[in-house]
Symmetry: C2
Subunit: 482 residues, 2 copies
């Protein structure tokens, strides 16, 4: 038992695990292999960097390599783990210097994250076309958006940055119009960001409303919020092609069920955000079990089906609080929390990674939206429920108090048992943070009747007597009872 705890990937899950392990087992050895140059960066902060709300890219880094070193973690950047031998309990590592070696482990954590899918688009060869899934892309987009003579190279103030790519993008003429391909939350955030930078922005979304996992009530209000700020939203508008040889010139939209191209929108920038998928190549062929979304299936302690091999973060499943089944909802807290729990477990203190409730929040200018649990009726039915739902509009504060704003709450419950299955909230006044009340209720297996009786805070500046959540519960409960 003298081999180290080996971690693959130096972002949220990997470094949380390594840090917690070192705190719990100060004499233990942990080696973190990271194939790239970047570590511990705030993926979720990239749109706000592009928007200009954040001045320096370095602000998006939680930990520097020297911080990691101070924690007693043996961090090896530029070191890709290319193979795992679970029987021999060792990994094969290739470095950017061309070295190749094997490393034995006592325990292994695979925290390889996810990568942006581009659908059938290949953005690599076209100037002005991007995906946003790493810091180099964020730096490149930020540079591309600026006028060549107005770009401040200090914005990309991290040594790891691909400076050549930044410089090349900074030198190009600034775009005036942009297509955001995909109206999920990254799409919405990027649309706001590019609009804040002065571009005329088009968002193209394949289905009928933006932010599909947030439900229609949220999608519609977010669409209104974007349009109110000058963003043009195209729903039921699948982008069929990016047009342009060297530089992007237009996007082509399929307008009907046959996919016939009916429209071409000229743009001089495109950001493709059509989804992500888990990075699982490392464990292909090892016999490991995979689960929802093709992610690595793990148990309630983050263990894979291979002995002493854990997985966490965007490459792994997590147990859904509503269904009790493994699901794949790659988000930041899940990664941090699972990593931390696995670090404790490996150090000898078995710790649950915790369920996920699918909690997510997003903003579009001043409109805040959030969702939790199961909103989609088909998904609820597939999990064996009889979904009943209601959407209400209620005030965020007492009606007489300045700033009271219309807040839409959707609740979904099981008609048989009354159990709360999911919910969404959208509005302009403290709307998103209210989702945590629903998330807590869902994790506690509460019924809508119990939610209706919750003693939520009432104070005129923050909430009316009946909080919008209580109003929604009251209406939905009436429907279930009646």
């Amino acid at each position: 038992m003298s081999d180290p705890f080996v971690v693959v990937g130096a972002d949220a899950a990997g470094l949380s695990a390594a840090s917690k392990f070192r705190r719990e087992a100060p004499d233990g050895e942990v080696v973190v292999f990271e194939k790239g140059r970047w570590i511990s960066y705030a993926y979720c902060g990239m749109p706000y960097f592009i928007a200009g709300y954040v001045d320096r890219m370095s602000n998006l880094l939680s930990l520097s390599p020297s911080d990691v070193d101070e924690r007693g973690i043996d961090l090896r950047r530029g070191s890709e783990v290319v193979a795992v031998d679970p029987d021999a309990k060792r990994v094969t590592v290739e470095t950017t210097d061309g070295d190749r070696f094997e490393q034995a482990y006592d325990d292994l954590l695979v925290a390889t994250g996810a990568r942006a899918t581009t659908g059938f688009f290949d953005v690599r060869g076209v100037d002005g076309a991007f995906t946003l899934h790493n810091m180099d892309a964020a730096a490149a987009i930020d540079a591309y958006v600026a006028e060549p003579d107005a770009y401040d190279p200090e914005r990309a103030d991290v040594s790891a940055v691909d400076r050549e790519r930044v410089d090349r993008n900074a030198a190009m003429p600034a775009p005036e119009t942009a297509a955001v391909v995909g109206g999920g939350y990254v799409g919405v955030e990027v649309a706001e960001a590019l609009s804040e930078r002065g571009l005329s922005v088009h968002v193209f979304h394949r289905s009928g409303h933006l932010l599909s996992p947030f439900g229609e009530a949220v999608g519609n209000r977010v669409e209104e919020a974007l349009e109110a700020e000058g963003v043009t939203v195209h729903t039921d508008a699948p982008v069929e092609a990016l047009v342009g040889d060297d530089r992007i010139e237009a996007v082509e939209i399929g307008g009907d069920a046959d996919g016939a191209t009916t429209d071409r929108v000229p743009v001089d920038m495109a950001v493709v955000g059509v989804g992500i998928r888990p990075n699982t190549d490392l464990l292909e062929g090892t016999g490991v079990d995979f689960g929802a979304g093709g992610a690595i299936r793990v148990d309630d302690h983050g263990r894979t089906s291979l002995p002493d091999v854990y997985a966490a973060g965007d490459c792994a499943t997590a147990r859904h609080a509503v269904t009790g089944e493994p699901d794949w909802v790659p988000l930041g807290l899940t990664a941090n929390r699972a990593g931390r729990a696995i670090g404790a477990t490996v150090a000898g203190d078995p710790t649950l990674v915790g369920d996920i409730a699918g909690t997510a929040a997003v903003k579009a200018f001043d409109t805040e939206a959030a969702r939790v649990g199961i909103l989609d009726p088909e998904e609820a039915e597939a999990a064996g429920f009889d979904p009943v739902s209601e959407t209400v509009t209620a005030g965020s504060r007492s009606g007489y108090y300045p700033g009271a704003a219309e807040t839409d709450v959707t609740l979904v419950a099981d008609g048989d048992t009354g159990r709360l299955l999911g919910g969404s909230i959208v509005g302009t006044d403290r709307a998103a943070i209210r989702i945590d009340t629903l998330g807590t209720a869902i994790e506690a297996d509460m019924t809508v009747a119990e939610v209706e009786r919750l003693d939520l805070a009432y104070a005129p500046p923050f909430s009316p007597v009946w909080d919008p959540i209580l109003v929604a519960a009251k209406v939905l409960n009436g429907k279930i009872d009646g």
Copy 2:
């Protein structure tokens, strides 16, 4: 069974009950006796009216008498119920016209509310001295604060208002300095209100920190918030006397344990907010059971110990979610919810009034504070718990996101079981509304370990990866485990 449902008191609890009863039993008869002229007013809104955030007093009324009439409720204002005969099932009513009659009931709801205590101060004979516990007082304070030639009589635009009192106060010279006696939440709100109206305000609080039920972390930050806006806060400063013959001239403060007067602060206005107590006179001598705070003890359906007699709102107890025992926490949602449940029960649909968690929120300028459950160690011990607590300071948003603000979270748990007993939150960015997450966790009997694993929303504009609540749970859980 042909006698009506009789309700005593036409505010939150009484009118909620009457309205719900009529909706559920459209053929049923309900009579509401109200001794005064006012009905259905937003007590909690009065400080914001005084502050000038609300232009018209009529905005604070939820329902007008004609609204009530349209609901099929027989509302009798100026009709005081002076006696209850629970054996004969009838009440005695005296009207302001001098009539006296008896009214039989099938079911009776006592919703007589609470009244401000003034301690040993008699504010009635002294101009410039007030308590704030009804709309006439709010109108009088608002008029008194204005310069005589600048007062807009349209602000008190409700026919029920005591116009003579308003006019008399409006005619007096405007005050320049005010004493707020009592630093509970009404005191804090009134201090802000009077400061917003341009007065130099002193708050005098008997104990060591403001907002005693919110705990020290909140009290200290709220004190800082008030001081930052020019309000002078005196803690450990019990006011011993209001000085002045016709008009208030000063307050005298007892400075040490012997109560020797050590200070006299000249003021030309004083608002006394040292607490409220339940209006229970009506049921004295009936043999009804009383409970916490001297309030009328009720069961989980709002029933008193007398047959067919219910009580709800500020005059009644409610079951505390942490202790399971009847408690007295007079707040608006509790009254509305209990009234509504009793209306349904009387109409034939037995409905739980629901537990209380002692949830309360308050603001002091831009600082928001909230509390829930049991925070006081002595109270926790008295309830059989072994309280352990922690206060952490954490960011309200991702550190790089503009507007991230320091948020203090205090959690209290039972050291034996890990069960969450109470919490408080204070900060300037969406702090108060976060209390609902803790309230929901408390009502679900969650442990701190379970709170630590909650899947709360993470989005940089609203919350860091580890929400301040999760940070606090993590630290407290470490203390309990360790």
